[in-house]
Symmetry: C2
Subunit: 133 residues, 2 copies
């Protein structure tokens, strides 16, 4: 409950690593990151491919290939980052679907919306640049 996914966790580890090791245009393969941080290779690779699609990373194919970080993070919040990878944040499903069948019978809709807004605000207040240091 109230957990972030491994995808987010791996992504943060990758971004922070690449951000702290970008001198001389260095690049790192999924395999390297995997063994540096003991993360499952295949799964990590998928996550890194996601990060490329979202333009957080640039990839280099072929032997001696790897990944490098882009500058996109500079004006991205943690909230935006999470939503870009996992879709919209909603404490309960009925916040995300358009049609709640029993809406008239729901007495906690407005408080839940309030709490959800709080959560999103908290996440939007944290710059990714802080997290990757």
């Amino acid at each position: 409950m109230l957990k972030i996914t491994k995808k987010i966790e791996y992504a943060l580890i990758v971004l922070r690593h690449l951000n702290e090791h970008k001198e001389n245009g260095a690049s790192y393969s999924a395999k390297e990151i995997s063994s540096l941080y003991y993360l499952p290779l295949e799964n990590l690779a998928k996550t890194m491919q996601n990060l490329v699609k979202l333009n957080y990373l640039t990839s280099f194919k072929g032997s001696k290939g790897g990944y490098r970080i882009n500058e996109k993070l500079d004006d991205t919040s943690l909230g935006d980052f999470v939503e870009s990878l996992e879709g919209p944040i909603g404490l309960v499903d009925c916040m995300l679907e358009k049609n709640c069948l029993v809406e008239e019978n729901c007495n906690i809709k407005s408080p839940i919306i309030r709490v959800n807004d709080n959560l999103k605000y908290a996440l939007s207040s944290i710059p990714m640049s802080d997290i990757v240091k």
Copy 2:
């Protein structure tokens, strides 16, 4: 991801209902709440039993039995409430276990702790009395 459980959801519905209908010492059975809000009876009943154990509700057994709300909520935050039902809040598992095996290899520990604190602070700032109105 970042969802609350049905247990919490049902609990909030119950508490709000009982709080708004406590005149003349009225009491409601699990069955009544179940049909008022279209919630699965057995599961809802379990949740209400939880709320009794935690002293948020008082129950009356036997035929014509039911539940009534206690005054405990008055100085409880949403964060405390959630943790009383579901245990400690942690964005990632390694925040909750004492021993992270690869801690030296984790580069995001301190940022995650920061975000976790933010989340907990946001939840602790919302009084339950606001939610049950």
